[in-house]
């Protein structure tokens, strides 16, 4: 099974500032997908952003962007202009391109936003 590592259990950011969450993964495959999911307190997990490994361009969704470094097997998430609603646990996840079901998740990073 692929290993996904999130080395930061907790991160704190001032409102309106930027925070970057790190994620590294281990794989021998060349084609795969990477995801960041957000789990707000007591609420459902939702997809924040996804990246196809064959695309060199980093994905962006509004204030959320990724820095995908394929050779380094790194996939960090940057949250710009942080808002109170960004407070949540964030999970990095990996999926092989050869199947459409198995997601491998990291341990998660809890983001706290200070007002």
């Amino acid at each position: 099974a692929q290993t996904v590592t999130q080395s930061q259990p907790e991160m704190s950011v001032q409102e309106a500032e930027t925070v970057t969450l790190s994620c590294t993964y281990d794989t021998s495959e060349s084609d795969y997908y990477l995801f960041w999911y957000k789990q707000p307190p007591s609420r459902q997990m939702i997809l924040v952003i996804r990246q196809e490994a064959y695309k060199q361009q980093n994905a962006t969704e509004n204030r959320f962007s990724v820095n995908f470094q394929k050779a380094a097997k790194s996939f960090s998430l940057k949250i710009s202009d942080s808002q109170l609603g960004d407070a949540a646990m964030y999970f990095c996840a990996y999926r092989s391109a050869t199947n459409d079901y198995k997601l491998s998740f990291g341990a998660g990073t809890t983001v706290t936003v200070r007002a």
């Binding site: 997809l47 999926r95 459409d100 079901y101 990291g106 341990a107």
Partner: protein, 114 residues
């Protein structure tokens, strides 16, 4: 919007009880999944199903079984609950054949086994 619902948000059971966790999705998704979420371990796949009556083991299937009699419903069964099965259980669903598609998650069931 895709809606994935789970039968209970909180559940307290005793050791040795048989426990059923139910999950229903309303978007005609072929794939359904059961995960458990533990602090410091992220989400780990217990079982998944890609069609009615079809199931595949995930990474941690021991102590669990599943049932999928209808496309929209996927049940997780703890035959004889144990304290080490105290956890948050998340159900998810997705379309088949669209490998970049996201999984949609339910709100979770926090199970405590005493």
């Amino acid at each position: 919007d895709v809606k994935v619902t789970q039968s209970s948000r909180y559940l307290v059971k005793r050791t040795g009880e048989k426990v059923f966790l139910e999950c229903v999705q309303d978007m005609d998704h072929e794939n359904m999944f059961w995960y458990r979420q533990d602090p410091g371990l992220g989400l780990r796949l217990i079982y998944f199903s890609y069609d009615v009556k079809m199931k595949e083991k995930g990474d941690i299937p021991e102590g669990y079984s599943v049932s999928r009699e209808k496309k929209e419903r996927f049940s997780l069964i703890l035959e004889s609950a144990s304290t080490n099965q105290t956890s948050m259980y998340l159900c998810a669903s997705s379309l088949q054949g669209r490998i970049a598609d996201t999984q949609y998650f339910g709100p979770g069931t926090r199970l405590t086994v005493l």
